[in-house]
Amino acid sequence: MKPKIAFFDMASCEGCQLAILDCEDIFLHILDLVEIVEFREALSETAPRFDIAFVEGSIHREMDAERLRSIRARCDWLVSLGACAYNGNVQARSNALAPGENMLRVYGPEAYHRTQTDPHYWPLWAHSRVRPLSQVVAVDYHLRGCPVDREEFLQLLKRRIAGALPRVAAQAVCVECKRAGNECVFEHGDTCLGPVTWAGCNAVCIGGGYRCDGCRGLLPGANLAAHRELLREHGLSEAEIDNRYRLFCAEEVAEATA
C-alpha cells in the first residue's frame, strides 16, 4: 500500500506548500509513490490517519498547539515544512518584545486596555509567544528554508519510502558557495550569514548575486562570537548585527546566547 501523506499549515505564508506544488512536472510520478490524503492547497478531502504529516507554519495560539497535537496523534512521522515550522522564522522576532508591548503595537491602545479589563475579550489572532513545532510536539525531520527546497523534499520522500533517510550534513552555506565557485560576499564588500547558517540551499541567494540572510537557521555550534566580530569589522553596528540575526534566526540566536 502506498504511504498516505498529508499537508497542514499553521502561521505561515503557505509558500512552502506552493513550492511543493511546484513539482508539477513530476507530480504524477510522486502520486505513483504516495497517496495525498489531506492538502488544503490542492484537495478538499480530509483524513483521520496518515503516515507522514508535513506541517508548515509556526504555533502562536493555544488552539494551534492543540491542532498540532492532534495531527501528531494521527500520524507516524511528522516533518516540519520550512523555516516557520522549523525555527519560527521572521514571526519569532516578536518574541523579543514583552507580549503586552506586542499587543499594544499591533492592536493599538484601545484593544490593549480592553484585554486588561474585559475577561471575555481577546483579539482573534493575538498571540503571546511564537513557537516552532518542536516546542510543542516531537518532530521527526526538518525541511529547512524559506521556502523549502523542492529537491530536498523529493529526496526525503524517495528515501523515506525506500526505508532510509537523506543525510543532511550540519555544515555552513560556505560549503555550497565554494562548490558552486561563487565569489565570497565578503570579498566584494558586503556581509553574509553563510558561515553560521545551515547549508542545503546550494547557496542560491549568493549565486543569484545577493548574500545569505540565514533563512535555513543557525548552524548547531556556530561560532557566533567570531561571526559578530567579523560583521563588526565590516562596519555593522551592534544593532544592525542583532537585526541581521533576528531576521530569520530570532528564536535560535536568543537560545544560543541565553
Partner: protein, 366 residues
C-alpha cells in the same frame, strides 16, 4: 624538446584557434576581485603575462581564483555511475566517464605542481577512473610567474615556484615583448607543430633571464627553511598553536574546498522518481575542517574540535602526504586558504608559528 618564440598576438590567435576545436579554459575575471577558469569564448578577454607587469597588473592570480584549475579534472560534484535493473533480477552499472578533450591554459606553477600531486594520488591504490579519464584527455599550458600573485602568495617558500613537470607547454614572457613557448611533452610538441611560431634554440637562457626580473625574496618566506617547517609540523602534536589559530574558525570548510591538493569527497546515492528501480551514485568535494567529517556510526567523532581538525589539515599538507608521496610539500603555497578564509586563518602563519615554537620550545606558551 622544441621551443619557440611567439609574439603576443600570434600566441593569442593560436589559443583562440584551439578553442574552435576543444574546450579551452582560461582564468577569467569573476565578481569584484576573483577569477574562474572558464571556457574561452569568442569574446572572452585574454591577456598574457608581460615581463614588466607590476604586481597589481598581473593578469590572473592563483589565490583569487576561488576554484583551482585542477577541479576541471576532479569536479566539485560529479556523477560516478548510474544503475538500472537488468533481466536477471540484478542491477547493471553504467560508469559515467568524461573523455572530453580539454585544454587548460593560464595555470600557475603552484597549481601545476598541485595537479602533478593529484595525478599521483589518483593513480595510487585503486586508480580513480573518473579523474584519470579526464586527465588523459587534458592538455596543460602553464604560465611562469615573474611576480608573486599577491600578499597571500608563498610559492617560493613552499618549493613550487619553479615547478614545470606536468605542463605540456610552458610560457614565459620575454623582455622583447614576445613569449617563450617551451614544449615539454610530445603532446605539447604536437600542439605547437603547425602554430607558425619561430624556433628558439636557447630556451634555458631565455627563461632564466626573464626569471632574473623576479623580486627577491619572491612572496612570503617562512622564518625557517621548508624542511625545518615540515619537520616541526610533523613532530608537533600537543601545542597551543593549534588552538590559537582556530579561535575565529567557523569550521566552514572553505580552506579545504579551495585547496588545489584537497581531494576528499562524500558520496550520495539517488533514486530516480521517473524510472522506478533506477538511480545513480554521485560524489561531491568534502573537507576535513567540517565538523562531521570524522564522525562515524554511533556518533563518535575522531576530530570533534576545530583545533583537532586544523591540526589534521595542516599535517596532511606538510607531513602525512609528503611522507606517502615523494614530491615534497603538499601545500604548494598558492595562498588560497588564507585568502578565501573569511577570518584570515592562514596555513602559512600556522606553519611558521609551529616552526618557531619548535626552535624555542619554552617560548611556545607565552
Amino acid at each position: 624538446m622544441t621551443s619557440f618564440l611567439a609574439n603576443e598576438q600570434a600566441l593569442e590567435d593560436w589559443l583562440r584557434r584551439q578553442a574552435e576545436r576543444h574546450e579551452v579554459y582560461w582564468p577569467q575575471r569573476m565578481g569584484k576581485a576573483s577569477y574562474a577558469f572558464q571556457r574561452l569564448r569568442r569574446r572572452s578577454p585574454l591577456r598574457l603575462d608581460r615581463l614588466d607587469d607590476a604586481p597589481a597588473s598581473k593578469p590572473f592570480r592563483a589565490s583569487a581564483c576561488v576554484v583551482p584549475p585542477g577541479r576541471l579534472l576532479a569536479p566539485m560534484q560529479e556523477l560516478l555511475y548510474r544503475f538500472e535493473p537488468d533481466d536477471d533480477g540484478g542491477y547493471r552499472f553504467i560508469p559515467c566517464l568524461d573523455p572530453t578533450e580539454r585544454l587548460i591554459a593560464g595555470i600557475r606553477p603552484c597549481d601545476l605542481k598541485a595537479i602533478h600531486l593529484m595525478d599521483a594520488v589518483n593513480a595510487e591504490g585503486v586508480p580513480d577512473a573518473h579523474y584519470l579519464t579526464r586527465r588523459a584527455h587534458t592538455t596543460l599550458i602553464a604560465s611562469n610567474c615573474l611576480q608573486p600573485c599577491d600578499a597571500h602568495c608563498f610559492c617560493e617558500a613552499a618549493g613550487s615556484l619553479d615547478w614545470r613537470e606536468g605542463a605540456d607547454v610552458f610560457l614565459t614572457p620575454q623582455a622583447d615583448g614576445q613569449q617563450l613557448v617551451e614544449c615539454l611533452t610530445p603532446r605539447g610538441e604536437a600542439l605547437c607543430a603547425d602554430a607558425g611560431f619561430s624556433p628558439c634554440d636557447a630556451p634555458e637562457e631565455r627563461r632564466q633571464s626573464a626569471e632574473a626580473h623576479r623580486p627577491q625574496p619572491f612572496g612570503r618566506q617562512f622564518d625557517a627553511p621548508l624542511v625545518k617547517v615540515m619537520a616541526a609540523v610533523d613532530e608537533t602534536w600537543d601545542s597551543p598553536v593549534w588552538d590559537k589559530h582556530v579561535e575565529r574558525c567557523f569550521s566552514c570548510g572553505t580552506c579545504n574546498l579551495v585547496c588545489p591538493t584537497c581531494y576528499c569527497f562524500d558520496m550520495r546515492d539517488d533514486l530516480d522518481i521517473e524510472h522506478p528501480g533506477c538511480g545513480s551514485r554521485s560524489r561531491c568535494a568534502d573537507g576535513c575542517m567540517l565538523p562531521e567529517f570524522a564522525e562515524v556510526a554511533g556518533g563518535h567523532n575522531f576530530r570533534a574540535t576545530p583545533a583537532a581538525r586544523q591540526r589534521h589539515r595542516v599535517k596532511r599538507k606538510l607531513a602525512y602526504l609528503p611522507t606517502q608521496f615523494a614530491d615534497g610539500s603538499f601545500c604548494v603555497g598558492c595562498g588560497r586558504c588564507g585568502h578565501q578564509c573569511t577570518v584570515d586563518i592562514d596555513i602559512f602563519d600556522i606553519a611558521n608559528d609551529l616552526a618557531a615554537a619548535s626552535e624555542a620550545p619554552h617560548a611556545a606558551d607565552d
